[in-house]
């Protein structure tokens, strides 16, 4: 469904991605793990069109994305819950969710998806009229994911959904990720919390300073020596 071939992205003169190649097949949950600064967020931003690769190709269902603007990419079926959540602080929860469906015009479908999102995250239902900036970290994360779902994406990008959240919430969020995937959405998940990410993923890539250094199924990566030492904190 999604394929990156030798993508190299620069920030000014600094090369953040040094030739990333990866694949995401329909229906999968694929995860990208790595430590801080490895280039995980840059990868998602590049796919979404917020950063442009200087070299390389990004193919989504056969279409090349590297030269398309972000709003077109969203309309093609890719949406994201970005790093830092980036909710619209002075809009209400309801308005945030509605903004997620901005690129759509089918009123019924939007209403359905709103229901779906609120069912996935019941906490949000209680806070529909509340300004998003006043929500707790966990609630904002739920809102960010829900908002991304409102675009009815075929591919959902999740950037560090566990960041700054209490462990119980993290489990909840990942449980929801599985549910979303079971409902039919392909997921590309970027995470620092390697354990949880690999637990829910079908396949995974390990990113280190802009390069992919390891690629395997989720369970295999969980068992791998390298991964356990470097990312799972075991000796």
């Amino acid at each position: 469904m999604l394929e990156l071939r030798d993508v190299q992205t620069y920030y000014g003169n600094i090369q953040a991605l040094k030739g990333i190649s990866l694949k995401v097949n329909q229906g999968e949950v694929v995860t990208l793990i790595g430590s801080n600064g490895a280039g995980k967020t840059t990868t998602l931003r590049t796919i979404q069109g917020l950063n442009r690769p200087r070299y390389g190709t990004i193919l989504f269902e056969g279409k090349a994305l590297e030269t398309l603007p972000t709003d077109t990419i969203v309309r093609l079926g890719i949406s994201q819950s970005p790093e830092g959540r980036l909710v619209f602080p002075r809009m209400t929860v309801r308005e945030n969710l509605e903004m997620g469906a901005f690129s759509r015009s089918d009123k019924e479908g939007i209403a359905q998806d709103m229901e779906r999102a609120l069912n996935l995250f019941p906490r949000l239902r209680e806070r529909l009229a509340q300004k998003a900036g006043t929500l707790s970290g966990g609630e904002q994360q739920m809102l960010a994911i829900g908002r991304a779902l409102m675009a009815r994406p075929r591919l959902l990008l999740l950037d560090e959904p566990s960041m700054g959240l209490a462990p119980m919430l993290v489990e909840q969020i990942f449980q929801t990720v599985i549910e979303i995937n079971e409902q039919g959405t392909t997921v590309l998940l970027v995470e620092q919390n390697a354990r949880m990410a690999l637990a829910v993923a079908d396949r995974g890539y390990v990113l280190q300073t802009g390069r992919i250094v390891l690629e395997d199924t989720g369970p295999n990566l969980l068992r791998s020596e390298t991964v356990r030492k470097a990312y799972l904190g075991e000796h």
Binding site: Q48, G49, L50, P69, T70, D71, V74, R75, S79, Q80, P82, L86, V87, F88, P89, R90, M91, E95, E98, M99, G100, F102, S103, R147, A148, A151
Partner: protein
């Protein structure tokens, strides 16, 4: 490095609040001491008000009327700043050009004091539509030509570009004012102020000594308020308005929603320019004269109003507009009209130093 520790630093005998208080009192004293030169002669002002309190009311009415126009111009500043954090220096000059356009249209149609009410109404309506369209297109073109490429340049580049545009527009106004051959309504001298026809009804609605409230005052205030409310509703409830708010609150997130940010920004400039058009017509109708360099004063007041209310905040701009209008009227009558610009500017400096977010602003700049 801020010292937040409870230990007192040597050499600093007073706690922080006392130092601030002393500084404030010192500044107030200096203002009282030197103020009379700039017209701030407190005892004289007090006496004047006490002797004729009704004049104060009249001053307030004039202030509200002019303030409503300032508010509309302020909205233009605040919309643009909220969305791309640029002080659109050229905004006030767009306002000036729309005033010229309004005059030209009225002159071309041939509407003046002697026309019938029906003719005047139609004439003003046509001038309004033309002014709004002209302002909108002009503002959007400026964005496209002079600002868009600089969006990622160091901060000061678009500001300097805006100053350049301001000068270009002023020269345009000067040139326009000299086009007597095409627009006789422009009068003899290019640089001289132009007279607007007296089209607003002068009938007195309320009179009590020095207080005179005319139909035209009411019309201006109502018209301004109507446009302000319309803008507020637009931004709050329409799809494009929400896109504007989203883009102002977080540009990347707005992109991820599928919002075409370039289009939204262009539209914001259209909107701001259209508002400038409204203000341009209103100012001509209400004040009766327009001149090619009126952008400087109007811009200073409107920008101060926007900052006072909280830059980026629409309600704030409206509130700020009225407040600055009141201040300017008060200064004109009770201080000295030669110093009014200085006082308005002093307010700007004071706000920026002591409460940069303005009255209604929140951290990060707010749209609604």
């Amino acid at each position: 490095m801020a010292t937040t520790s409870p230990t007192v630093r040597t050499g600093s005998a007073l706690p922080r609040w006392a130092r601030n208080l002393a500084l404030t009192l010192l500044i107030l004293y200096i203002v009282l001491l030197v103020g009379p030169i700039a017209g701030l002669d407190a005892p004289r002002i007090w006496q004047s008000i006490a002797a004729e309190p009704k004049t104060l009311v009249q001053v307030a009415l004039v202030g509200l009327a002019n303030g409503s126009i300032i508010a509309i111009i302020a909205l233009g500043y605040t919309l643009v700043y909220g969305i791309i954090e640029l002080i659109n220096f050229a905004h006030a000059d767009v306002f000036m050009l729309t005033a010229f356009m309004s005059l030209t249209v009225l002159g071309a149609i041939g509407v003046d004091q002697k026309s019938s009410s029906g003719q005047i109404f139609v004439g003003v309506l046509v001038a309004l539509v033309v002014a709004v369209l002209f302002g909108a297109l002009l503002n959007a073109s400026i964005e496209r030509l002079a600002y868009r490429r600089l969006r990622n340049a160091p901060r000061l580049a678009p500001l300097i570009s805006a100053i350049g545009v301001s000068f270009i527009l002023q020269n345009l106004g000067l040139f326009w004012g000299g086009l007597r051959i095409i627009f006789p309504v422009m009068g003899v001298n290019a640089a001289a102020p132009k007279t607007f026809p007296q089209l607003l009804p002068e009938g007195i609605l309320f009179q009590d000594g020095p207080i005179i409230f005319r139909q035209k005052d009411l019309i201006i205030i109502l018209a301004s308020v109507a446009f302000m409310i319309a803008l507020r509703l637009f931004v709050q409830y329409t799809r494009l308005g929400k896109a504007m708010r989203a883009t102002a609150q977080n540009r990347d997130a707005a992109k991820i929603m599928g919002i075409n940010v370039d289009t939204v920004i262009a539209f914001t400039f259209l909107l701001g320019g259209g508002l400038a058009g409204v203000a341009g017509l209103l100012v001509g109708l209400y004040n009766g004269t327009i001149v090619f360099n009126m952008g400087l004063t109007a811009g200073l007041r409107a920008f101060t109003a926007a900052v006072l209310g909280g830059i980026g905040n629409i309600t704030g701009a409206m509130l700020g507009g009225f407040l600055i209008g009141l201040l300017a009227a008060f200064s004109d009558v009770y201080f000295s009209s030669r110093w009014t610009n200085a006082w308005v500017f002093a307010i700007l400096v004071v706000i920026l130093i002591f409460r940069p977010l303005g009255l209604l602003g929140e951290a990060g700049g707010e749209k609604a």
